[in-house]
Symmetry: C2
Subunit: 261 residues, 2 copies
């Protein structure tokens, strides 16, 4: 489609990523992207719809407020409710829903217009496995010191080369990222790790959490996080934490299309 | 078993009630009680173990901290970790876990020694169905006024005849109950209803929530809750809310066996 033939809508979505291969289309299973594009296509009688996401989540990772834009053929007439409820209907019975929808201009991109992304990672820290929070938390039996984890996390704030926390498969041009928030706090048996940055490297959040868990058990002093960062070497950091504790929470735009809605 | 032949343990359990017929054994499906008693029995080589619960939850209702006592043959030697982790093992893959265990005397009962119970009911109040909270919330699309619901809820506090909120099948001798807490508050798209009382009638929480939802939509004024209560007639109240939003949170004892643990 050329630009003249497109109308673009931004949508905000929530999904349970447990059963999917992640956002991006792959040959080895169902992706959230194909579910979203298929539902959008069904809504307009089968004509193709393409999508761009603000964040390419991994398999098993969830989203509470991921923003995506959809390019529809320009001659279809749609409104917010049709997109939200109509796509929600075609997405059944998948645990993927449209929370909101807003028309945007063609120079607005869910990915490139984003000025920050935020994630939450949840650890269930107790001896017993989860029953009510299965697939939503990383279960860590050994007691974790959340205050020490928070202290260690603060060494990662600011603009750094995050090579130590970068997946080998990361496609970003640069390992430089500016981390704005990395807070760790405990609420009863749960430890929440909240983070915010303009953008993240592939596996960066899960790799930071894996290292912070080593601080939490006492294996590493909090200041060890600074050494790990300075090493600029993936081997210096802790293991990648499992995906199920991670949730894409929100994404910010200078022109938030949903606010004007 | 006679008293001489018994040792009694209190356990605190968490479960996802979605797939079960409720706490109590029934012919039409799997009950949490039979899963718990079976796991306890497997732990001691197949000898029978009986249980008494602090709360007989309905089908689809969850528990984050339900207390149960188990009567084991007196000659078995058990410790807290064996019960928690061993029963947790035999309970796999069911979403039922043992959070804690403590030995208690035979004059201590999970049911009769309890001095209060607390429940939380969660409503997801937005147009889109739940994706991340499927089976954990009552999905209400129509906007609800949580402040009005809270105001209406306060008319139910204190000692009253709760016949208007009592299931026909309720086996309690008296419809009199003393309601200590019934708080309603909103957090973004969620409305939480927290309640606490020495004990509740059958379906009392779900019936109170069903009526409060009518206050939330504006169909009823908050003070209508007082009229409904005074009617002492189930037909005067609103419908029973669905079970999936309800979670048994906690139970209190003068001698809390887990504190001394």
């Amino acid at each position: 489609m050329t630009d003249d033939n497109i109308i673009r809508w931004a949508i905000r979505i929530e999904f349970d990523g447990t059963e999917y291969v992640g956002w991006q289309r792959q040959n080895n299973g169902i992706s959230v992207q194909e579910l979203i594009e298929k539902a959008a296509s069904q809504l307009i009688g089968g004509r193709p719809v393409s999508s761009i996401t603000a964040g390419r989540t991994d398999a098993g990772v969830h989203a509470a407020g991921l923003v995506v834009h959809l390019d529809f053929p320009a001659d279809v007439v749609l409104n917010k409710r049709q997109i939200r409820d109509g796509m929600g209907f075609y997405l059944k019975p998948h645990p993927v829903v449209i929370l909101d929808a807003a028309p945007v201009s063609l120079d607005w991109s869910a990915r490139f217009s984003a000025i920050w992304r935020s994630y939450r990672f949840t650890i269930l820290n107790r001896p017993s496995r989860p029953a009510l929070h299965t697939n939503r938390v990383w279960h860590v039996k050994r007691p974790l010191n959340a205050a020490a984890m928070h202290e260690g996390a603060q060494y990662l704030l600011g603009c750094h080369d995050f090579s130590s926390f970068r997946a080998a498969a990361c496609q970003a041009n640069s390992p430089l990222r500016t981390l704005d928030v990395l807070n760790v706090h405990r609420e009863n048996e749960f430890i929440f790790i909240e983070t915010k940055a303009r953008s993240f490297l592939h596996h960066q959040v899960r790799n930071m959490v894996g290292s912070l868990a080593l601080v939490g058990t006492g294996k590493w002093e909090p200041r060890k996080m600074k050494c790990v960062l300075n090493a600029k070497n993936r081997a210096a950091a802790g293991p990648t934490s499992p995906p199920e504790g991670l949730c894409f929470m929100d994404v910010g735009y200078l022109d938030d299309p949903f606010l004007a809605n």
